[in-house]
């Protein structure tokens, strides 16, 4: 009991003093996960909207696959990206294994299906309501998709944040392709895993508290924004 209390107190002290080691890890985490989210959003939102609006053979299969990919195990993504980027792999020449770039790629691959699948659902629900009206006005498919993305933007913020939460919280992919190198590729989750096994509980706990706080704050903000928008725009 005492050790836990002590660790908690020390963790809060580290956060309060902005411990440089802790800050470095947090900043790298944010850089990696936010970049991955931006990339995944650029691919996922148009992809989700296109699947929602378009008719093509194999659409239902694609939706099932996409939904299944939401549960992609991070370690498997890490393994595949590792194989691609390792020296013998097809992209080995890039030489980015064990760098933040590799971690960004792995996380982007992990969360693109999440963003695409959730966006597909949100856009398709709106499409069901708008379809006849947009057809009647003569909107082209791309125009319809853009209109739907714009009109569902508050739901899509939640979608993107779900992707961010998943990226920031996963450990399996970044530890494989990043290697958890101190000062280079050590992010919050890998640091927590390492420090816990080393017995350095204050740092692990401090990082854990920050991680949970970030995810909670973002999701609370998104929820409140969506509520306000729903009240305002109906």
């Amino acid at each position: 009991m005492d050790t836990i209390q002590l660790a908690f107190r020390e963790a809060l002290a580290m956060i309060g003093q902005l411990d440089p080691q802790l800050v470095e890890i947090v900043l790298l985490s944010l850089r990696v996960s936010l970049t991955a989210v931006v990339l995944a959003t650029l691919v996922g939102l148009p992809l989700g909207a296109a699947i929602a609006v378009a008719h093509f053979p194999g659409r239902k299969t694609l939706i099932v696959v996409l939904n299944a990919l939401m549960g992609l195990p991070p370690v498997v993504v890490g393994l595949v990206v590792y194989l691609m980027l390792s020296r013998a792999g097809p992209l080995g020449a890039l030489g980015i294994l064990f760098t933040p770039a590799a971690m960004i790629i792995a996380q982007a691959i992990l969360i693109t299906p999440i963003i695409a699948a959730l966006a597909r659902q949100a856009v398709e629900d709106a499409w069901r309501e708008y379809q006849e009206q947009l057809h009647s006005l003569g909107a082209w498919p791309v125009q319809s998709a853009l209109t739907l993305l714009w009109d569902t933007k508050f739901s899509l913020v939640t979608t993107v944040l779900a992707g961010f939460g998943r990226a920031a919280a996963e450990v399996g992919a970044v530890i494989i392709v990043g290697g958890n190198i101190d000062g280079v590729t050590r992010v919050m989750t890998t640091a927590i895993a390492l420090e816990t096994s080393k017995g350095d509980l204050p740092l692990a706990l401090g990082l854990g508290i920050i991680l949970v706080t970030i995810v909670l704050t973002l999701n609370a903000a998104a929820y409140l924004m969506k509520e306000a928008a729903q009240r305002r725009y109906g």
């Binding site: 708008y130 006849e132 947009l134 057809h135 009647s136 082209w140 725009y233 109906g234």
Partner: protein, 241 residues
């Protein structure tokens, strides 16, 4: 310079529409000309709304041909518009909803604002221009839908029971707007099962029953003495089976 060819007349030849193994429109042949207000009457399930959607191009016939006098695309700028029973409003202001329709129709950005405001004024919604469209009342939303269609200056306006879920006051406002749109030279094709409304607005009645056009007549003649027993029963308020 030649004036652009008129959309009308609209010709339907042996049009059928089937869905889920049921024949909803059964061999309808029909020519709709410009000018008058055509009201499609009939009991629920007669196929009125489906016929309207076929004419407007929202549905494709499973057999037969539907042809406009001038070629009309189903994407890009259109010379016909439709107002639905339940207005579909985008999540933006009333003014922006009207402007959106014109944007799709390829109207320039500077012209859109002025035309949208003029359309809102004609339906008496100027004071609500900045309000989010989806929080307006049902009657206001339907007037907004009319303004959105009106701003496009369509040659033909289809209306699918536009007042079915509105109170008498809102219904009166919608009917006044429809009359004004018609006075501006727009052909009106409207579905209703409200007999009072049909009497007030119709120049010509198309009476549908079981997916067919059972009777077509001038409104005065139709209401004075329908030629078919189905129409007579409908006018008397009997249930049709």
């Amino acid at each position: 310079m030649r004036a652009p060819a008129s959309l009308l007349p609209l010709t339907l030849e042996h049009v059928c529409f089937e869905a889920g193994g049921r024949r909803i429109i059964d061999d309808v042949s029909l020519v709709i000309d410009g000018g008058s207000r055509t009201v499609i009457l009939g009991p629920n399930g007669a196929g009125k709304s489906v016929l309207l959607r076929l004419c407007h191009g929202l549905l494709a016939p499973t057999a037969g041909r539907i042809e406009w006098n001038a070629r009309e695309r189903t994407s890009g700028p259109r010379k016909q518009a439709m107002v639905f029973q339940r207005p579909v409003m985008l999540r933006r202001s009333a003014l922006a909803n009207v402007a959106y329709g014109m944007k799709v129709a390829g109207v320039g950005a500077t012209e859109r604002g002025a035309r949208a405001r003029a359309a809102l004024e004609r339906v008496g919604l100027t004071h609500l221009a900045g309000r989010p469209a989806r929080v307006l009342s049902g009657g206001e939303q339907q007037r907004l839908a009319l303004a959105r269609a009106w701003a496009l200056n369509p040659e033909v306006l289809f209306l699918d029971e536009p007042t079915a879920s509105l109170d008498p006051g809102a219904t009166h406002e919608i009917e006044a707007a429809i009359a004004a749109i018609h006075a501006g030279g727009t052909k009106i094709v409207m579905v209703t099962h409200n007999l009072g409304q049909a009497r007030r607005l119709a120049d010509e009645v198309l009476f549908m029953h079981n997916g067919r056009i059972a009777e077509r007549a001038h409104a005065d003649r139709f209401f004075a003495g329908p030629a078919t027993p189905e129409a007579a029963a409908f006018l008397k308020g009997e249930l049709l089976w």
